[in-house]
Amino acid sequence: MELYKLTIHEAHEKLVSKEISAREFTESVFSRIDKVEDKVRSYLTLTKEIAFGQAEKVDRKIASGEKIGPLAGIPAAIKDVMCVEGVRTTCGSKILENYVPVYTSTAAKNLLNEGIIMTGKTNMDEFAMGSSTENSRFFPTRNPWDLERVPGGSSGGSATAVAAGEAIFSLGSDTGGSIRQPAALCGIVGMKPTYGLVSRYGLVAFASSLDQIGPFTKDVRDCAITLNYLIGHDPLDSTSVKIDKPDYTKALSDDLKGVKIGVPRELMVEGIDPKVREAVENALEVFGKSGAIVAETSLPNLDYALSAYYIIAPAEASSNLARFDGVRYGYRVPGTEDLMDMYMLTRAEGFGDEVKRRIMLGTYALSAGYYEAYYGQAQKVRTLIIRDFNRAFEEFDVLVSPTSPTTAFKIGEKIDDPLQMYLSDICTIPVNLAGLPAISVPCGMVDELPVGLHIIGKTLGEEMLLKVAYSFEQNFGWNEKPAL
């Protein structure tokens, strides 16, 4: 039996019943990695030794009759933007090529404490800036459905690791769609929780007011299980919300009687590939079967979301990335003449083009004399977008759209056209601006490539969001896997 194909909930039962051991499970995943990693290239760093050590611990626990949690013994990959003590954390950048953190991020720690088996750190667009994982300073990751195509980004490696069976689930981060878009392009489930639900402590910041950690899983139940252990108030993160921890698996239900689903027309028209739109429209019919009411709605200010995002995110990034200067850690160009030289050459060599582009955009937007016209204005747009969502949510329980306007595109196709690339996140970005939770679930195929359905929930409305996603998944019944 190919254990790497199991979901979290399937594997948990087998582990508890001692049908399989954590060691066997881990071996299966690593032999899968050996087989496909050369083609897909999900990982920047493999942590095989750590993984087998953790597996042994879990097996000992099981053998001694101790109760194990649902994540214990489950092989999982972590995006290389979250710090894990003692394990190289590069953020896909040359400037952190040999950087080894001295502490572990809260999100990773929460899962490690639950006994997950860390397989490794996954490839990503440099500092999470990109939608294709081509901006990794090390190598691009390839889509398991078509190795000529991108997996999406920026959490491309975390998406492909799950899609290709190189991990049972993984963690990503989502600033403008970096979990949901690659999940859609790779045919798996990816979720961005409400801003503040998962601690950002130890997540190397791209845009602090937008960043959020979330899981990639094979199905919605696994997503709910993972979320149960990811969330919780963290005193180390001032933006972390204080709520009673729910059991999200309890929300999973088939029945959507009376649930109102809105389809914002702005997300179904311009820029959306007609075939993708058609696939999403077909998918929506499934909701009728489960008793939900589907109706069109409008988010009138969405047209400005992309512009606002490309001011706010780079502005915050320009400041967040200032610390990478060669003074204390990371890469430093050797033999420079003076301080200014060291700063400039280190950053010129250490950062790639897209990162530099965004640092420059952000620096400009915050400069004296431009602040009000750019950053100030963008914040106003952000408020308008939040208002649009609030209004829509007065009427609807969730909103739906395509996750990505297209299916996976060819490697190299958009890399020299940043504006075209930025449009990949047109459906996902407004959600980050409003801090809302959203999930991408597979909703069929177009030209042998997966399409994702994007479901957006209210602030802290994860339970309703997961319920709708679960119901859709059950009733839609899509279960294809890449032939890798």
């Binding site: 979250m82 710090c83 954390t89 953020c91 952190l96 950087y99 953190p101 001295v102 502490y103 991020s105 950002r200 402590y201 130890g202 997540l203 190397v204 910041a205 845009a207 602090s208 007011s209 005193p235 180390l236 993160d237 001032s238 933006t239 502005a315 915050e316 320009s318 400041s319 200032a322 610390r323 990478f324 200067d325 003074v327 204390r328 850690y329 003076d338 301080l339 700063y343 620096t363 915050l366 400069s367 004296a368 602040y371 950053y375």
Partner: protein, 481 residues
């Protein structure tokens, strides 16, 4: 032309909290370099700040103490610039929503009073410390530089005054008064030596009577109240001279060199940074309850102005004395402690503190609580005078030894055999000698020359090296004549 100077001060004060502004590291002074650090204050990737509530409380209390309006909604901003002593290459500070605005400090300048406005008080984090090795000890030309991040992230309060200060003397009194207030509040030790209080001054001059501002320069490296006053005096003269010689004043930052007694250019305005302030997205805006502010107000202890009034009322001190004695918390404490163990006139204590003690403190550049002399010394000395053991003159003579060694006055007097001669027989004998040796003067006195009496007293004192009780000498001499 007659000019007047326009001065504004920016005062940075490190707050005396247990832990740093945005992490749990200790703020203790003088530890091994980089031992009081963590991912947050080292700005390691992924770390996040969490605001220290005590520090916020301290700033609000400081604001309340100088009559500020407290912002019920306030925010931290990022101030962006690159420097190796700043781990994140931005400083978490405040911009358009500081914690306190619109305060004031009233100054008693002895012959006039004046009010100095305080524009704002805000909270930020301190930077680390650079040590440049090789070269001239500055970053340019250094072989390499070391960074100590123990101070990085220590809560720093910045108090910005209005340009209401008109003289270097006022600047000094303003800074000293703020210091006394903050020390009374217990929010900082305000040590200029340790750098927990740092003063930068903006100064310009303009024709007297003009309401426009001249071009200002900013003075740095003012490491004591004395250098603040001296640097301003120098800079005002420099600007006057420049204007009189037809030169223009350039807006620039100037470095005060205490040993050379002059300022020199540090950087000109062309190098002014664009700090690209924006709200720190890692920290949620602060919102306060007015009832919480009220509860902080209730915790504010007696402040220097109130203490001064109490000194006048309770101890009958002249306003001048009370003002000086409350200029620092330590001096007021010294005075009160002395009064509590002395039954005599508090004014006598004040005289000694403001007279000899202050003189020696100034000479040695010491604060009153750094000196070897304690209230017990002063009181014991006063008691020795009161009971006739020593004269005031002797007291002045033993003062330097007391100041230098901390020996008690009684012990010094005994060691040096300086006790006053108060035995009537002994003094009578001395007077006999004087009369015998100065028959001519005695004759003059008897002929009505009153001045001759003083000469004879002087002779008696000379023979006893000043130890004779002057009252007794007077009395016995009159009797014998």
């Amino acid at each position: 032309m007659e000019y007047e100077s326009v001065i504004g001060l920016e005062i940075h004060v490190e707050l005396d909290t247990e832990s740093k502004m945005f992490c749990n590291c200790s703020t203790r002074f003088g530890e091994e370099p980089n031992t009081q650090t963590c991912p947050v204050c080292l700005g390691l990737p992924g770390s996040l700040p969490v605001a220290n509530e005590k520090a916020i409380e301290y700033v609000i209390k400081s604001g309340l103490a100088i009559g500020c309006d407290i912002s019920l909604y306030s925010q931290f901003h990022r101030k962006n610039y690159f420097y190796p002593d700043m781990p994140k290459n931005y400083q978490i500070s405040q911009y358009d929503l500081p914690l306190c605005i619109n305060g004031h400090v009233d100054l008693d300048m002895d012959d006039y009073e004046t009010r100095i406005g305080v524009t704002r008080i805000h909270l930020e984090e301190d930077t680390g410390k650079l040590i440049h090795v090789g070269g001239a000890g500055r970053i340019a030309g250094a072989e390499y530089s070391l960074v100590d991040f123990n101070r990085a992230g220590v809560p720093l309060m910045e108090i910005v005054s209005e340009p209401d200060i008109r003289t270097p003397e006022e600047a000094k009194v303003y800074a000293q008064k703020l210091r006394a207030i903050l020390i009374s509040l217990g929010v900082s030790d305000c040590s200029m030596e340790k750098g927990s209080m740092r003063v930068d001054a903006n100064v310009s001059i303009r024709p007297k009577g003009s309401t426009e501002f001249g071009v200002k320069t900013e003075l740095k490296n003012l490491n004591s109240f004395r250098s603040l006053q001296r640097a301003l005096t120098y800079e005002i003269e420099r600007q006057k001279k420049a204007l009189e010689e037809g030169e223009v004043i350039v807006q620039e930052t100037r470095h005060w060199d205490e040993s050379k007694n002059r300022t020199s250019i540090l950087r000109t305005k062309e190098y002014a940074h664009d700090y690209r302030y924006f709200p720190d997205p890692d920290l949620v805006p602060m919102q306060f309850d007015s009832s919480w502010i009220e509860s902080l107000k209730a915790e504010i202890p007696e402040l220097p102005d109130e203490r001064k009034q109490r000194f006048i009322r309770r101890f009958g001190l002249p306003a001048h004395d009370a003002n000086l004695l409350t200029a620092t918390k330590a001096m007021g404490d010294f005075f009160e402690e002395a009064v509590s163990i002395y039954a005599g006139d508090p004014k006598a204590i004040s005289n000694w503190i403001l007279g000899d003690l202050s003189y020696y403190l100034n000479t040695e550049n010491l604060e009153i609580d750094e000196s070897a002399i304690t209230p017990k010394h002063i009181v014991e000395m006063l008691k020795l005078i009161d009971n006739g053991t020593i004269s005031g003159k002797i007291a002045k003579e033993i003062f330097p030894e007391m100041f230098e060694t901390g020996k008690m006055p009684q012990a010094i007097v005994e060691e040096r055999g300086m006790t006053q001669i108060s035995g009537e027989d002994e003094i009578a004998k001395i007077i006999d000698t004087v009369l015998a040796e100065n028959a001519a003067v005695v004759q003059e006195y008897r002929e009505g020359k009153e001045r001759a009496f003083g000469f004879l007293v002087g002779q008696a004192m000379r023979l006893t090296k000043g130890r004779a009780n002057p009252q007794l000498v007077n009395k016995l001499l009159r009797e014998k004549l």
